[in-house]
Symmetry: C2
Subunit: 191 residues, 2 copies
DNA sequence: CCAGTTATTGATCAATTGATAAATAAGCAG
DNA sequence: CTGCTTATTTATCAATTGATCAATAACTGG
């Protein structure tokens, strides 16, 4: 994972083997091809690092909404704001058509939709079952996600050190998000 | 540019030649090496597409600040939200250490600093000459930039169609930006 | 049309690279 | 220790790829 995050998927099997202190043909004892090896890297990083507990955090209504969102985004940021995650995700996007869209579809279903549902509930709006999430609502959540992700891009792709603390940026973004999203919510349901 | 944006800088000279309907050795009549060719692509896209008029738009105080920012970000977005610009910038970041940081340093000097200066002026705060821009101010501008850039990432790297109109997103972001940045500005100068 | 210059191509080299197979080393049950 | 299985290496293949060079085609001024 670390190797391909650094060199991209065009990194050579010989260099990878050297880094692992093994010989290059040994790789082919454990993986039928380079492509299969890369597929396994995807699996480990993007599927393996997803924490189901996040979904519980978002929907646990015994905790105030803002606190839930802050906790979720902090934990999520801790996982994706790593050298490996950010760069592999970008390499995958530039090369492969499909993996990223697939991952983000999952992210949308397991996180975005739930976040919107909880906001609807908080403000007494109809459930997303009754009234599907609007493009504008989704766009707001995307904006929050983009802000976090872009921190990783700056750090691990542009090699620019971050001057500001990540957690405080997340807190600020969540706050402005909650403040702003109210204005794009659907009208209150009539009794 | 289009070729390398699609295949990355590991795209082969033979394929490039085929796309240009020439033979591969002919490339070496016009470029000493593949690397020099790529260097030229950087030049054309990242330097060549920068419009000095943008700096005038930002600083033209005969126009209301919000209108200036919207115009600048709309024009800037029109240039960078292209298949070529977004993907080449990302490829460059993943491969080369330096180009992106260099470009963003320019962006910061020519645009970000000016934006902050104008906001300071608008709200009657000390000039950035007297009091350097703070990390928090810069972070706010980054957030705006990130939101725009991420639209390009979604479209051209993740292959996800954008449901929402870019210009209206920019308008909304500039509005919330101007609303939010007031709270992180330095205190008013004492007479 | 000619001579000289420029543009373009075909053939090919040397290095790289994913993959294979035979040979060797290491581990292990009895 | 023996026989068998598993792990690892050495040597090598075939395809790819950036680059070179001599040969050929196209163009240009006179």
């Amino acid at each position: 994972m670390s190797f391909f995050a650094e060199h991209g998927f065009e990194g050579q099997t010989r260099e990878l083997a050297k880094r692992l202190r093994i010989t290059q043909p040994l790789l082919y004892r454990y993986f039928p091809s380079k492509e299969a090896l890369i597929e396994r890297v995807y699996q480990e990083v993007f599927i393996g690092r997803w924490k189901p507990s996040w979904e519980k955090i978002i929907t646990d209504r015994s905790v105030p909404l803002k606190a839930r969102l802050i906790q979720f985004y902090r934990e999520y940021a801790e996982v994706i704001l790593t050298y490996e995650w950010i760069r592999l995700f970008m390499f995958a996007g530039l090369k492969d058509l499909g993996l990223n869209a697939r991952y983000l579809k999952m992210l949308r279903e397991r996180a975005f939709e739930k976040v919107i549902e909880e906001i609807r509930f908080e403000y007494g709006r109809p459930s997303t079952d009754e009234l599907p999430t609007t493009d504008l609502e989704v766009e707001m959540v995307w904006g929050l996600h983009a802000a976090i992700f872009y921190l990783g891009v700056r750090k691990f792709i542009y090699s620019m050190p971050l001057e500001t603390d990540v957690n405080s940026i997340i807190d600020a973004k969540v706050t402005t998000f909650l403040g702003g999203v109210r204005f794009v919510l659907p009208a209150k349901a009539m009794a």
